[in-house]
Symmetry: C2
Subunit: 211 residues, 2 copies
Amino acid sequence: MTTNIKAAHNENVVWSDALLTKEERQRLLNAKNTGATLWVTGLSGSGKSTIAAALEKKLLERGVNAYRLDGDNIRFGLNAGLGFSEKDREENLRRIGEVSALFADAGVIAITSFISPYRASRDKAREVHAKRGLPFFEVFAQVPLEVAESRDPKGLYKKARSGALKEFTGVSAPYEEPEKPEVVLPTHQLSVDQSCDKLIAVLKAKGVIKA
Amino acid sequence: MTTNIKAAHNENVVWSDALLTKEERQRLLNAKNTGATLWVTGLSGSGKSTIAAALEKKLLERGVNAYRLDGDNIRFGLNAGLGFSEKDREENLRRIGEVSALFADAGVIAITSFISPYRASRDKAREVHAKRGLPFFEVFAQVPLEVAESRDPKGLYKKARSGALKEFTGVSAPYEEPEKPEVVLPTHQLSVDQSCDKLIAVLKAKGVIKA
């Protein structure tokens, strides 16, 4: 038996040997952070996307690996084909929870920005992370409905009030506020910079970003 | 109107400003690689997982960011709930194609190892990457069926031959060989190291790994 054949046969041995712990991965990449997920939740117009985008940029500027998962890269890709029924919305968020956990496992700080109005789906995402020992932060972009509605960046509240849009969170469908979010961001009182600074401080305090 | 309120209102402006190109992301992270996907396909027992695991380790040891997507972290997470019908298998691979593209977009070299027996699903994954300008490499772990069957690391061929396992690729279901794979790895003739070296050479030649 030649060495090559032997190597090719010893699949299990080679495979186990090749497994790396998260810590080894971080050390080898000389990473400035561990993986984690920031799950940003809040009403439409609460500033989720704005904060997610600004935070991603600020983290990258520090050499911290971060990646946003949002409507733009999820709805038309991974979750194309899912509609807006309750079942489909749940499945939408379930997949986002799983994918963010993969990113966190890969050493990236995943920043998700979806309304995610139901506690149950957010708790499920949290659970997926907890099971794998991955840090998870529920970030509540908290504004009074009137403020979110006055911003109405996509004109959705207007459509919802006119009845053109059914089951719109905050108007004709519930938003279940987080009970114990890791971070609360009153985005009508904090600037985008202040919100990002608050998040970065939490990530440092929790050891996700190395001091 | 205070500055804070103004900042919170200027969502679109802030958002556009915060967008980063892939190149800026790489520069900020001082990355040794661009994102890409290596889509390893082949029979059960062809050495896909062995090579994927060994390659991931070798890349990380060079400071190159790589992450494996395989049965272990996909089947029981993102794709839990999917069965083995043709439709479910297609959806399984479709999602893996989408998730690997997200990783590639995030600057990671995604290494997928799934049998992926049908050309159509592999081509779909390729297309998803092409649309977003992300490098995609179809890697064919090529061994004669007899070799794969003689390895039978999970005892699946035995079950398939006995009829206990229906529609098993190579035995009772087709494997459509890649027509123009970027890399062919005859894993019965190459050691695991040699296979990895070949892949790394291709990634360097294509500019995915910086020289």
